[in-house]
Amino acid sequence: MTDRIKKAGRHVNQSEGLIFEKSAPGKRGMELPPLDVPAVDARQALGAAQVRDAVDGFPEVSEIEVIRHFTRLSTWNYAIDLGMYPLGSCTMKYNPRVNEYVARLDGIATEHPYQPAELSQGCLKILETLQNCLLEITGMDAITLEPASGAQGELTGMLLIRACLESRGNARKKVLIPDSAHGTNPATAVIAGYQVENIRSDAQGQIDVARLKEIVNDDVAALMVTNPSTVGVFEQRIAEAAEILHAKGALLYMDGANMNALAGVARPGDFGVDVMHLNLHKTFSTPHGGGGPGAGPVMVKKILEPFLPVPVLARKADGSLALDTNRPKSIGRVRAFCGNFGVLVRALAYTLAYGPGIRQATEDAVLNANYIRKRLEAHYELPYKLPSLHEVVFSDVRQKKHGVSTIDIAKRLIDYGFHPYTTAFPLIVSGALMIEPTESESKEECDLFIDAMRSIAEEAATNSELVKTAPHSTRVGRLDEVTAARKPILRWRPRATGEAAD
């Protein structure tokens, strides 16, 4: 069986306990220079009641132990730097290292958000240039870079819609969300004070425009739609949907999570979108870092500009840039300071590297997805047959006949040296295998992936146990998630005093 697995081989990795278990009194991982001012008695300075004892259970380890500890942990992770990471909807593309370098420059990483604007012109120019680039790419009119992530971008966008409708006299009650949407969409609409009405996709996985026409009324504030949709297909009647909404005074929100299919090819501003967000940690290559940080800029049409969150970047009469907080119609502040600035720096470095050539990245991403689709469609069921853009979604119905589900196939992919694709999403595909290769994969890597997926399809038919019990090559096997949730252990605790030592 192992000769089928071309991408991965076995190698030893190091065992490692918790850092707290390595701790011993008196060890240390850093030293400070001698204090150059008189020492202070904390009890006298703060009052005895305000002073704490040393932090109980806090680690005491040396520098080399810290290096080894975290380096060992790191080797237990899969990463883009190791290979294809085909998580659908997540756009796991190469994270260029020059972006890391420039974000750390002295004069960039060192700047304080409250230093005077005259000492911050470099930071502000970075923000301005990124704003202009993102507006050009999306075809929208105005922008805020404040939101810290896609979900916060969504919230900002929904608050903008609410403020705009309120200014017209009625904030309305409902937000329409297709059943194919990301979970953040309905969760966000609720925080923005709206009721969620889920609408069913049509037989092709598209917005049901006829149904939309029936249900849009004066209670509907907006439709939140992801385009391309979460099945990786362009919403072909999106402009029509926008017209239906606009005719009833409602607005169109676009979740830009899948912008990697459109950058340089089509612009949401041209097909009726009123508000949208981008995930800079997807399309714009800022590293996902095991779960963040990201950034979720929001782009709007002119009518929504007065409501943008503060601060807003402004050019003063003398030509210099400043942050304007005097915006009477603003929805307020969504995050302290100036957004995830360091992430914005990286996104600009990415955009500058491509320039107008960003279209080539989009084309390669779509090429990869379609190549994988073509070469796997004989082996896996394709529930929606419209042309794919940047990702392709199969279902596990054929493998289910052998008792093998999408999660089993995903776990078996690990043995083949790949990170799994996205499982169990979108919800409109039962047993989904959601595959997004991005432009960062070579033909060779795509071919290895295709071979692995074909091989697993065969294993599912001939040796389903092997697949159902995968992975077989990792440090730990499938973990007991039920007990983890039922009896949560969410932190390490020191051994109680009096308990016998080993």
């Binding site: 990471y85 925080i191 949560p488």
Partner: protein, 448 residues
């Protein structure tokens, strides 16, 4: 293009395999009217050399060469080299949220350690895997208090970071949460009498910050008692996490909303930072954000998984406790590495140095006859000075000496135009503190 791993002939071969004649064929599902006919008007493409040159150019237009006495929620502490070395490892930097635990044990164990460190620091029982920043953590803490108590009003001290309060207002507005503010007493702590009057049986939470925005430590145990007497929760914000090396942790709080930027993250013009929510075990199911838990695999080996996900948006959708998805994982990792290096003794020493330097700075500035401390309450590494004239005007003079002076509090509190917030950390040399004092003395002794 250097980021794209395909040759023209490989592209051609792939197109042929698909059965497409050209790349354009791949996009026919987009209505022709919306397909761009010409290239976007973007700067670039730039080579690596040009990118570095561009950002160096911008860096030169910022504050290099100035000594800065700003804190106010963003602190300039020494960042250990090891921290940045670790977080640049590709296995941490370029991995996704650890939804596939078998190949994400590194990230998961690191988060578990982060959760533990945050509990130890704050004196709380559980902490999450991170929030976007301190300000959104505070807003989410208020919404959490609303869920826990079923009440719809919070009372927040004006000594909480003004931008945090603004974010709270934005979030509260549509969550049916009413926000009421109370002022401070002479010592610079929340006005306990006004607070006591404002808190009633409709109050979900009392919200304070310690050290507060005026640099003064609040009396958390007393405030907890006051809140509890009315059945409200106490939410405590911490923006200067290094204080927890020496200041008593807010263990009596029901929810702690913390910004942990001080642990190894650069100021970076305001982000990315790392928010934390820590709370009591009994509230864990009302908590927002990801949580990592310990478990075992089928062979009994210890492992870690994301858990209690039924609180979260990807499972619960509109019934989730929050819409947060992407958090600040890599920043949380930086904080963990930094804290492990500091260790028990190092953290204490670091906090003690900050305290001593700030005391020294306060004493130096108070030697100037027209300068005095504005508040008598105990402070950590920040304190407010009252100047005889507008801080804004004085700062303009200090800038000529290449000093970024005290934060003018008039921008946040109209009644405090002559008050400025001074921050001193272990990175501020004594000589620069003395230079600030000397420059300030000279400016103030020069008649206007």
């Amino acid at each position: 293009m250097r980021y794209l791993p395909k040759s023209p002939s490989e592209r051609q071969a792939m197109l042929e395999a698909i059965g497409a004649r050209s790349t354009e064929d791949l996009f026919t599902s987009i209505p022709a009217a919306y397909r761009l006919k010409q290239p976007l008007n973007l700067p670039g493409p730039l080579s690596e050399m040009e990118i570095i040159e561009y950002f160096r150019g911008r860096a030169n237009e910022n504050s290099r060469g100035y000594t800065c006495f700003l804190g106010a929620g963003v602190y300039n502490h020494h960042r250990l080299v090891v921290t940045d070395t670790i977080i640049q490892r590709g296995e941490f930097l370029t991995s996704y949220t650890p939804y596939q635990p078998e190949i994400s044990q590194g990230t998961l164990q690191a988060i578990f350690e982060f959760q533990t460190l945050m509990c130890q620091l704050t004196g709380q029982e559980v902490a999450n895997a991170s929030m976007w920043d301190g300000s959104t953590a505070l807003a989410e803490a208020a919404l959490m208090a609303e869920r826990v108590t079923g009440r719809h009003r919070v009372v927040v001290s004006r000594t909480v970071h003004p931008e945090y309060r603004q974010v709270l207002t934005t979030y509260a507005r549509n969550a049916g949460l009413q926000v009421e503010e109370v002022g401070w007493a002479a010592a610079g702590q929340v006005d306990a009498q006004a607070l006591s009057a404002a808190v009633n049986d409709a109050t979900a939470a009392v919200i304070v910050q310690t050290p507060n925005f005026l640099g003064v430590l609040e009396q958390v145990p007393q405030l907890a008692e006051l809140a509890r007497a009315k059945g409200a929760l106490l939410v405590v914000a911490v923006t200067e996490a290094v204080s927890l090396g020496i200041v008593r942790p807010p263990a009596e709080a029901d929810i702690v909303a913390m910004e942990a930027q001080s642990f190894g993250l650069p100021p970076s013009y305001g982000g990315p930072f790392v928010g934390v929510i820590a709370t009591r075990e009994k509230f864990v199911r009302q908590m927002p954000g990801r949580l990592t838990g310990q478990t075992t695999d089928h062979d009994g080996r210890r492992g870690f998984v994301l858990t209690l996900a039924t609180r979260e948006q990807h499972i619960r959708r509109e019934k989730a406790t929050s819409n947060i998805c992407t958090n600040q994982a890599l920043c949380a990792l930086a904080a963990s590495v930094h804290l492990c290096l500091l260790g028990k003794e190092g953290l204490r020493e670091l906090a003690a140095q900050n305290l001593a330097k700030a005391r020294f700075a306060a004493a130096e500035l108070e030697k100037i006859p027209s300068v005095r401390r504005a508040f008598a309450g105990p402070s950590f590494n920040e304190f407010v000075v009252t100047l005889p004239r507008s801080v804004r005007l004085v700062n303009a003079e200090l800038l000529k000496e290449k000093i970024v002076g005290p934060l003018p509090l008039g921008s946040f509190y109209p009644e405090l135009t002559k008050q400025g917030l001074v921050c001193v950390t272990e990175t501020t040399p004594r000589s620069e503190i003395e230079r600030l004092a000397a420059s300030l003395r000279q400016i103030l002794e020069t008649p206007v």
